[in-house]
Every structure is written in C-alpha cells, then in structure tokens.
Symmetry: C2
Subunit: 431 residues, 2 copies
C-alpha cells in the first residue's frame, strides 16, 4: 500500500487508507507496548498509535526516543475512533525523522509569561495559540468580507506620515531623508480623502502608539480596520458598526467553534450579541458610574469606567456624546449641544472595554480650522486635510475597530499579547 500525502485537517477523507503526514512530534505517552504520538502538521493535531508488535524494532525505538518537536514523516492507516479528540487516529506503519530535536525549551508544563514571550516563535506551535491565531484570521476575513459586501473599497493609507493625528507624545518617529516622519496611529485623515473620492472606503493595516503603559489591553503595534463613508451620518455609522460586529461574532461562532472550545470560551455570551446594541450618552454613563467609579463631567473614561458601564449590559454598548475637549479635533460637535461631540465608543461586555471608536467628522471648513488651531496643531501640515472641506465637503462618518481587542474578547483572553502573532509591548521587541 503506497501512502498518499494528507493533512490532519482532511484526514477524515482517508479512513482505511494509508497516508503520510508531514509534520512534527508534539507529544508522546507510553502505555505498555504502545506509544501514543501526538503529531501536528500545522492544520491540526492527530494521535498516532505505534505498536511494538507491528513495527520494525528500529522504528519503534524511534517512536520511543524521538524528542519533542522533531520534524517527522509519519505513515499509517487512518482509523475512525470516536474516543479521539478529532474523531480519527493513525495506526502507525512507518516513521522517519527529518531532524531530531533535542531539549525543546517549551515543555508541556506551565511556563511564566516572560519565558513564553521570549519563545514566541515556538510558543505559536501549541494548540492554544493555534486556536487564537485561527480566530484572528477569521475575524480579519470577516471584516473584509463584510465591508466588501457593503460596497466599501479597500484604499490603503500610509504608515509614514508627516504629521500626527492625535497629538505627538505617543508617536514613533523616524528620519525620512532630510525630514522627519511619524508612524501612523490611524489611517483616518487619509481615509477621509479617500471617502471623498470613492464614497465608501476602508483601510486595514498596522498602527502604532508609543504609550508607556503596561496593561492587559495595550500593544505598541496593533492592527485596525477603519471604514469611512461619505454621506453617512452619526446614526447610520452606529448601525453600520452594529451590523459589522454581529457579522464577525456570527462568523466566528459558525466557523471557529472548535477553536473557541479549545480555548474553553463560554460561547453563551457571544450567542447573545444581537442588534440593537444599547446606547447610553456620556451623561447617562456618569450616572451609572456614580455609585461605583464616580467621574467628574469632562473627564475621559479609563479602563475601570469602561468596564463598569459595560457591566450593566449583556452585549456591546455604545457610549456617545463625549465632551468635545477630551476627543479628537476632527469630531463634529452636536449641533444641539456643542460641548459634546457626535462620537461614540463601543464597549465590549465581560470586562473587555473599548473595541471601536468612531463618529461623525467635522465637515465645516472654518470650524475645523479653528479646532486645529485650538489643539495647537500645525495648520500647514493639515492643508490637504482642510482642502477636503473646501472642495465638495459632505457629511461623513467612520470608525476604527481594533483587531486584537476583538480577538481578545471573542477568545476570552486575559491579556491582549496572545491576540497577535508577535506582540510589541513596553520594552519588548524580541523576537
């Protein structure tokens, strides 16, 4: 019987047949004259049974002695076995080691966070990290498919920019030939130019904030998807966000349920993420906070305030109409009450805090110019941005969704560092 190449993911199609898996030895346990090898090949994990009675002595010896994470070609017959995690196992008929690994640093016992982060390149090989990164890829695909389906065009915005969008204290700076460039914290300003050209657009890329904060929910480098639409008002923007979040959650539940199970994520709270999401004004939120985390009017939310407000609801909640002075210069003041802006943050339930920030943008040229001055920003650098209000200004809105925040929430992670393949944290840039 010749062995055909197969992957763990599709092994169920080969029951009774002889296959060859190309992968790595993930784990092994012994039971009398049997060795149980857990083989991983990137698509999944499969148990292979090596029987001393059926194998040549040198092959069985290899099964017994080969180090964790050695690369292997494993041949055997696929058996359906309801007791196995994936429903199948392999009766081993042959094993070949490509490279025998010795003293693999990540054993199957517990390791500290720093040790695991130092070995992120190897830590990614574990079933838990597999599950998270697959959910991440699904979230990203869901964002793209949702926006493409709604007529949004991908228009990439630049990373190297001449000016800061939201202040300069948290910017990474680099020389750019004879001048200085900053790494983008957001693609939004460019998105607005693109929306005036294409109507509905989105950018999707890495963004950077040099914040000296060591929290469970901050990364120095993180991915953000930012839709922006001309002729979209504040209310329409909230409805769009609601539909997008529901789409993402439903898709992950439909396609990545096995991964959520592996992460021991209770999916009940996710099943309840249905529109409409509750909407509370900043003023109403202050009243909710009064007994637990009191906040003076005009102060911005911190993590404890987000968690306390979101704790009142069983699904994501919009907090809208923040004081103008704590929000970015480009937000449109509420015409009925100009001390607050037509912006909203979407807070995830279960303590995960802000996952989206967005709102309607200032469309009036003179007001925008005044705000730029009031914020002490260099008007010259925003000349092109002001042009958007001189040549066919229209009402427009948009938002930014932080991918890692959403992944952490959906996966039920304690720390955002697991939500990205190679996290960049305060003082951590290796590997």
């Amino acid at each position: 019987m010749t062995a055909r190449p197969a992957t763990v993911e599709e092994v169920g199609r080969h029951v009774g047949a002889s296959v060859e898996l190309r992968g790595w030895l993930y784990n092994r346990r012994k039971a009398g004259k049997l060795q149980f090898l857990i083989i991983r090949d990137g698509t999944g994990f499969l148990q292979a049974v090596a029987s001393e009675a059926d194998l040549p002595p040198e092959v069985f010896e290899l099964c017994r002695s080969l180090g964790q994470e050695s690369s292997i070609l494993a041949r055997g017959v696929v058996r359906a076995d309801p007791r196995s995690p994936g429903g199948y196992e392999l009766s081993l008929t042959g094993l070949e080691a490509l490279q025998a690994a010795e003293e693999y640093p990540i054993s199957l016992k517990e390791h500290g966070a720093d040790f695991l982060l130092d070995h992120r390149h190897l830590w990614l090989r574990t079933p838990r990290q597999h599950a998270i990164i697959r959910v991440r890829a699904e979230v990203i695909a869901a964002c793209r498919d949702f926006l493409d389906g709604q007529g949004f065009l991908l228009v990439d915005t630049p990373i190297l920019t001449p000016a800061a969008c939201e202040g300069t204290t948290t910017l990474f700076e680099t020389g750019y030939f004879d001048t200085t460039a900053y790494l983008a914290q957001s693609g939004q300003l460019y998105n607005e130019a693109a929306a005036m050209a294409f109507g509905r657009v989105y950018c999707f890329g890495p963004t950077f904030r040099a914040e000296k904060s060591r929290t469970r929910r901050h990364l120095m480098e993180f991915w953000m998807v930012e839709p922006e639409a001309a002729y979209l008002d504040f209310e329409g923007n909230l409805t769009l966000q609601e539909a997008m979040i529901v789409h993402i959650v439903e898709r992950v539940l439909a396609k990545r349920r096995a991964e959520l199970e592996r992460l021991e994520r209770d999916t009940a709270p996710l099943e309840g993420v249905r529109p409409p999401f509750p909407r509370v004004s900043y003023d109403e939120a202050l009243r909710l906070l009064e007994p637990v985390e009191p906040l003076a009017w005009g102060e911005d939310f911190g993590a404890p305030h987000e968690v306390a407000v979101a704790g009142h609801f069983d699904r994501p909640v919009f907090v809208h109409r923040f004081p103008a002075k704590v929000k970015a210069f480009y937000m449109k003041p509420d015409p009925e009450r100009p001390d607050v802006v037509l912006g909203a943050d979407l807070l995830a339930p279960e303590g995960y805090g802000e996952i989206i920030g967005g709102g309607e943008r200032l469309a009036d040229h003179e007001t925008l110019r005044r705000r730029i001055r009031e914020h002490g920003l260099p008007e010259e650098a925003f000349r092109w941005y002001l042009d958007l209000r001189r040549y066919g200004s229209v009402p427009h809105s948009g938002f930014g969704l932080g991918i890692e925040r959403v992944v952490a929430w959906l996966c039920g992670l304690e720390h955002i560092r697991e939500a990205i393949p190679f996290p960049r944290l305060l003082n951590r840039i290796y590997p």
Copy 2:
C-alpha cells in the same frame, strides 16, 4: 414621484424611476439650452442632462454656475442611453448644492507630476485614479482568496523589528523606549517561524526600504504579500507562484475589464499569461544579455538586465539560481552547485521587471549560522531564527510579491507612484 437614493454603479436597476444621487460635480459642458453635468459618487461617473425648459430657473442657474467638485444631491429620472459611456443617463429634475466649491485646483487639462502628487488627496477623484485603485483592491483580494483557498493561514508579522533581514543600510530606524527598532523590509523571517507552527502561512502588510533611488519602480513604503510553506521545495514554490499570478491576472481581466479599458490597457498580453512560465537560469540569462546588456558572472541584475531578459518572452519568466553572494543569507545553496542558490525572481513582461522574489530557505542549522557570520550579522539577534533549525527543521520555501509592481504591470502604468493611494517617494511624504 419621490426620488429613491441610488448609486451610479446600480443605476441600471432604476431605469424609468426617479432617483437621488449623492455625489460631486465632476465636469460640465454646455449645448444650447442644455447643460450636461458629469456626476461622480465614488461608485462611478454618470451624465445628467439639465434642460432649461424643464427646470425652475434657479435650479438651471445652479447647474450652469456650480464649481467643479461641489458636493451635490442630484435628482432625476434614469434613462437607458446606448450613447452614454455607462449606458445610462439622468434627466435632471432637481439639484441641491451641499457645499459650493470654488477654484478647484485640478482642472481637466494636463498637470505636471509634482503638482498632481502635491494634490494626491484630490487627484484620487479622477476616473484614471479610480480605475487604478479599483484594480489594486482586486489584486489584493485575489491574493488573499487564492492563498486562503490553498490552505494558507494569515499570520501577521511585525513591522517594528529588532534586526534587519537584508542589511541595515536601507532601513528606517526609530527609538523603541530604551532601544532601537527598524521598520520591517520583509516579514519573511517571522513567516518562517509561523510556517513551522501552521504549515502554510502568509503575511500581508506594508514594508519599508529607505533606498535613495529615484526610479519609476521604487517606493519607500510598499505592500507585499509573502506566503511561506513548510515541506515545500524549490520547484513546488515556482508552481505555486505561477498559479497565483495566473489567478490574479484572470480575476482582474474578469472583474476589472472596464477599468483596464479606461486605462487604455491593451489586454492582449495579459490574456496570454498562462502556465507554464518559462524558466531560465542566471547563467542562461547572462548568455541572453551578452549582445545587449552584458553582465559579469557574479553581478546582480539591475533594471536594464531584467527588462532585457524578460523581453525574450511573452509572459512572466523565472530567472533562477543566482550567485549565492548577491542573494540573502537565508537562501539554500543548490546542493549540486553551492555557488548558486535555489532562489528565483519572477520578471514581468513589457518592461515591468521583478514582481516576485523567492526561493527555498536554508534548513541546516550549522550552515545558516555560518552564513549569518559571513554576512556580518549579529548572531544574537537571530537566535530565535536559528531555533527554527534546532527544533524540527524542515525543507521550506516562500516568496514575496510586490503589490504595486503587479498593479503597475496590469494597469500598464509608466510610474509605480500611481499604484498606491498615497505614494512615499524619495523626499516626498506629503500629503
């Protein structure tokens, strides 16, 4: 008759009905008592006919006087008209200006490149730039769909990195708290770690090269898709590239033919992009170059050499087995001839040069370590990368496809600066 909101893209569904377009005035021409307005709304361009006889005087006056790029709500009845570019036009019944633009800087005459680049935020509104950016979005979607369909998992690699992949002279550098970070020129090394964890992976993001070159095909910031696969050899890697390019070209021809027409792109050469692609070794390429652009063995190709070699073929051509000394340290030497590596560049026809670089990677720990030393790279920074050869090393290959290069080729652009929404060129970072 109430006007329903419609977009130019879907206007054909509303023939005979009264619709409202929300957009901008792109152009106007006069013919007796008629005004022909070209309206754009981001999804397309549509001609609206304003008749003095049918409109209230103040509305006709608005049609006559409103400045280019003013934002407008245009109401009218949709008519099928085979003489119109899109097959439809609008008989105007009402027009409202949201913001009247004056002295729009980009008139419909010719402008110089510097002027247009200074006004990139407005230049994007023209039909030509629309067509290019739509082709770009299609190319990106084609890459993702192809790789997703082939079992590749999106695993994002970091932009902020502690070490350089291909030398430090062309790196953007930034402070990272108490240390220094470099902007990634490629995600490849991290991709290799991801491939050892997930089997088949890709990253897709912006990359950065601080090259002091002012050419038609260099950007300081460009997007690259980089697939990497464990257990994939050199030949398999070429086949994968071929299939991916064919997929991209076929999809753009199928879905963006109108855009290619607008760009006056002769599609005949693209229709001929079918497998197999010709493959010539570096040594064979030198013989082809001898009469026109002679090159000494051991020298790397420049643009003229790429163009001259590609000129011999009617479809993309692989040039393989370059001298080891001109290629990156991680390339696998040909076992039959260690002075050349198992790498290949894919050169586009019609003078567009390299669109892909890739190859099989060095899998042997000791050889890799020696190459790192020979290239004068800091071994400590590559510790994690060397780990991949200590713990389950396998044959693996991958490549990087430059998005803007492919867009420039497919669109037939003279300069790569039009292939990205906001180009970053030597000494240009505005807007």
